[in-house]
């Protein structure tokens, strides 16, 4: 399946781009993360500490064990600092 992946803040800086379209068979967010980490060191570095990362599926905050079934947009970013 085709999935849109977005990166924000220092995740974006480590990976070097704000978004990309991926072809993946990953069933969960965690599977996708493992797939990305295996690709290149910059991904491995960006995802090295999952506790300092958040994930949103189709613009809704969720957990790393969430299913990617039917999802079009995944976003990875550090904890938000709004306000």
């Amino acid at each position: 399946m085709k999935i849109e992946v977005l990166y924000f803040a220092w995740v974006r800086e480590r990976i070097g781009e704000p978004r990309e379209t991926l072809e993946t068979e990953a069933a969960t967010v965690m599977d996708l993360v493992e797939e990305l980490r295996a690709r290149e060191p910059r991904y491995d570095l960006a995802f090295s500490d999952l506790k300092s990362l958040r994930v949103a599926l189709d613009q809704e905050l969720t957990e790393f064990d969430a299913s990617l079934d039917g999802v079009r947009e995944v976003a990875f970013f550090p904890p938000m600092t709004g306000g």
Partner: protein, 145 residues
Amino acid sequence: MQVTVQSEDFDLAQVLKGFGKAPNTGATVSFTGRVRDDSGTLEHMEIEHYPGMCEATITKIAEEAATRWSLTDCLVIHRYGNLRPGDQIMMVATAARHRVEAFEAAEYLMDYLKSRAPFWKKEVTREGADWVAAKDADEEALNRW
């Protein structure tokens, strides 16, 4: 209810002009956040945001506040982009029958915006640039609600 995410500055005075005039509004609270320069070396602050998710998340938070405190009006404006010390970052305003409702709703909005609205701040100083880390205290602040 109004939720706006924009790069332009806003005029608090102008925004509050028509606010809180619904019948039976006894109390209006507004909050404005500005860029501070604690170190004295801040050149600017970059606010990155997730377009779409920002509006959706803030709208949801505002709707929850409006229901929980029976607000007669509710407004959130949040900026993104490059801001300088003293610049306005964001504002919320709440209107309700009584003061406690208006205050609590405004604090609720602020607490949730801090930790749930997808914005990230980067401080650019003369010495370099650093992402502002989320504070444990901000996450814990959600426990009171």
